[in-house]
């Protein structure tokens, strides 16, 4: 209390220095000890999915298979089937898994890095990190995420008819979503299989589709089913204006399948 001006300056200097030191060392510590999977070396694979709308009949097999293999509660769906506007009087469906954005809003804004990119492009959830703030649900333009409002207990109605669970159930209070069946991809690669070609290494929804509407594979491999499908057809992605660069591509309902339907063809412009 003798020299208060000195005291204040002293406090200012050391207080701020102390704060800075604490912050930096805490950051250093966290990086060393806690920050989960370090940015991996580049993966040789870049997984992608192609969905052919002209083949999809909206049967929902993919949803059931997903619910069984990923042990998803019956009131949730990691892959949903929306009904789109009919083309030529024909029903058109829009199956929507997680779009696995390359520039993913959920990864950008998750306050705890529970949403992150794997080296092979899959947007993953770390269910041990998620605090359940649900910010990602508001950031996702595709509505791909669902929150566990309550714990999923009891038997899964999709098991065993549609498959066996391959991943643990998520606890109450976290946000969950489609992971491109990373567990099938990873285990398949271990056994020397090719995801997209060998069924055991391919996402459950792709395997379950009876019409072959879903195609999976490696964008880095020019001979993979997805690369071939994208090279041979025109495709589009959802909400490309957002710049999310999704890894799910759609082949639209093609004109050739509807053009015999005279009445829906718009007036030809002869002028």
């Amino acid at each position: 209390m003798t020299d208060t001006t000195m005291n204040r300056r002293h406090f200012l200097k050391f207080g701020l220095a102390g704060l800075a030191t604490t912050t930096i060392s805490a950051r250093y510590l966290t990086r060393e000890a806690f920050s989960g999977p370090a940015p991996e070396e580049k993966s040789p694979h870049q997984w992608a999915m192609v969905i052919d709308q002209s083949k999809c009949t909206g049967c929902g097999y993919c949803v059931k298979a997903c619910q069984a293999h990923n042990d998803v509660a019956p009131d949730k769906a990691w892959t949903r089937i929306m009904e789109a506007e009919p083309v030529g009087g024909k029903e058109v469906f829009l199956p929507m898994p997680c779009m696995q954005c390359q520039d993913a809003p959920c990864v950008d804004i998750c306050p705890v890095k529970a949403s992150y990119h794997r080296a092979d492009g899959i947007v993953m959830m770390d269910y041990n990190k998620c605090i359940g703030c649900r910010y990602c649900e508001m950031a996702c333009p595709y509505g791909a995420r669902s929150f566990n409002w309550e714990e999923f207990t009891g038997p899964n109605p999709a098991v065993p008819a549609w498959g066996q669970p391959e991943v643990p159930r998520r606890p109450r209070g976290v946000v969950e979503k489609c992971s491109f069946c990373f567990q099938r991809i990873d285990r398949g690669l271990e056994y020397g299989l090719t995801p997209g070609v060998d069924q055991a290494a391919t996402p459950a929804c792709v395997v379950a589709c009876p019409y072959g509407a879903r195609i999976f594979g490696d964008l880095n491999d020019p001979n993979s089913p997805v690369s071939v499908a994208l090279a041979e057809n025109s495709s589009y992605r959802l909400r490309e204006d957002l710049g999310t660069e999704t890894r799910v591509f759609y082949l639209p309902m093609r004109d050739s399948e509807t053009e015999d339907n005279e009445e829906i063809v718009p007036c030809s412009n002869n002028a």
Partner: protein, 417 residues
């Protein structure tokens, strides 16, 4: 003994505290149900994941903004005479931020992991930044309140040595003011940016939100302080206010409202041109749709225009009734603004279907349990402020702070009441 009790029951203070305790008890019961049964007891959905509690959270943080503004005015701008008002503001700030933290603890799905954002940093996330700032600022506020508690007659009379120790924390008040200013400037605005960076919700996706959030907080935070001080001084003799100090702050609020109105005007006008999917519908929802009453009456008329006119007119604002009315409007207007902002982006959700530009409309009404828990938290805030006024002298402008050299003399040593 019985007569004594009877006289206690006759006091309005008794009923006030008893009422608050009942609401807090109900809130605790609701919180217990929420923590044991999970968020399934709320009316929140995957499309409207942030509801009533986020409204309380945003409002209580904004209404605590008086703490950093008045601390900065006293210790950085050197307006020493406002020091007693800053005391009140800092105490209310601590209450407000603790309310926000309590609400968030209920709101997140895994309260046991609340500390994750302090460990797993995602510096891209505005919400991460808000969490860090709120945590640090809560520490700053606790330090700022320490001398207030230590000096209070109630505390100092019982533990004089510890009280002196706690009072000496006051020496770092200028440092705390600087840190508090930085942290508040950061998170008050990035709470707006939390919404403003979400491209998936076009009505939110704009730079203006960050600015509007901090400017509206700069009006409503001090308004809350002046309002609470004025009401306390009317209700109890333990709160003593210097009207000239409150008048200065009230005039300041009036000018902030002018700036706020100006920004709101251009922000809204710029969104009204050219159809933009989901944004135009959102704006329509606010200005002509279901939220129109909230918007025009709550946010604009009550929240800005009427109090602005009252507070900028010396004669009007010196009339205590008009002053209280104007400040109440500012506070209510802020709550409306935060509520509407949070809701509008969730009630109008962009459609992902490539052919459909029209958005999807959702519904949300808080469940009884959400309301009970929220009311409990608000009652806790009111009770804490009541205790502060009664026992810690947080609204006492006659109290000369032991500022640096001046040794502290307890002004109100355990008075009888």
């Amino acid at each position: 003994m019985f007569k004594q009790r009877l006289s206690l029951v006759r006091q309005p203070f008794f009923w006030w505290v008893a009422g608050l305790l009942v609401v807090i008890a109900a809130g605790l019961a609701a919180a217990f149900i929420i923590l044991t049964r999970g968020l399934v007891v709320t009316n929140l959905t995957d499309l409207v994941p942030w509801g009533f509690w986020i409204g309380i959270d945003l409002s209580s943080i904004a209404l605590s903004a008086g703490a950093f503004l008045l601390s900065a005015a006293v210790y950085l701008l050197g307006i020493k005479k406002l020091q007693p008002v800053a005391r009140t503001a800092v105490f209310m700030g601590l209450i407000g931020y603790s309310m926000a933290v309590l609400t968030l603890m209920l709101d997140i799905g895994r309260p046991d992991r609340f500390w994750h954002s302090l460990l797993y940093w995602n510096i891209h996330s505005p919400l991460w930044e808000v969490t860090m700032c709120v945590t640090l600022y809560l520490t700053v506020l606790a330090l700022e309140v320490t001398p207030i508690v230590g000096q209070s007659g109630w505390f100092h009379g019982r533990w004089p040595k510890l009280g002196d120790r706690m009072a000496s924390v006051h020496k770092i008040a200028p440092v705390l003011a600087i840190v508090g200013l930085c942290l508040s400037m950061l998170h008050q605005s990035s709470l707006g940016a939390t919404y403003g960076v979400l491209k998936a919700r076009p009505i939110w996706y704009r730079p203006g939100l960050a600015v509007l959030f901090i400017v509206s907080a700069m009006a409503a935070g001090p308004a809350m302080v002046v309002l609470a001080s004025t009401i306390a001084s009317k209700v109890t003799s333990r709160a003593r206010v210097d009207k000239s100090l409150l008048d200065a702050v009230a005039q300041f609020i009036g000018w902030v409202l002018v700036a706020y109105l100006y920004l709101r005007f251009w922000d809204a006008l710029s969104m009204s041109y050219t159809y933009e999917p989901a944004r135009s519908e959102g704006l329509f929802y606010l200005t002509k749709g279901p939220l129109a009453l909230n918007f025009w009456i709550g946010e604009i008329a009550l929240g800005i225009v009427i109090p602005m006119l009252i507070l900028l007119n010396r004669k009007w604002r010196q009339n205590t009734r008009l002053l209280v009315l104007a400040l109440t409007f500012v506070v209510v207007g802020l709550v409306f603004y935060r509520w509407d902002t949070n809701m509008v982006g969730q009630l109008v959700v962009f459609n992902q279907m490539p052919q459909l530009l029209t958005p999807q409309y959702t519904q949300y009404r808080p469940s009884l349990i959400e309301i009970a828990a929220g009311a409990g938290i608000i009652a806790y805030g009111l009770l804490a402020f009541t205790i502060g006024v009664r026992s810690l002298g947080v609204v006492d402008h006659t109290l000369v702070e032991a500022h640096d050299e001046v040794p502290y003399v307890p002004a109100t040593a355990v008075s009888t009441d």
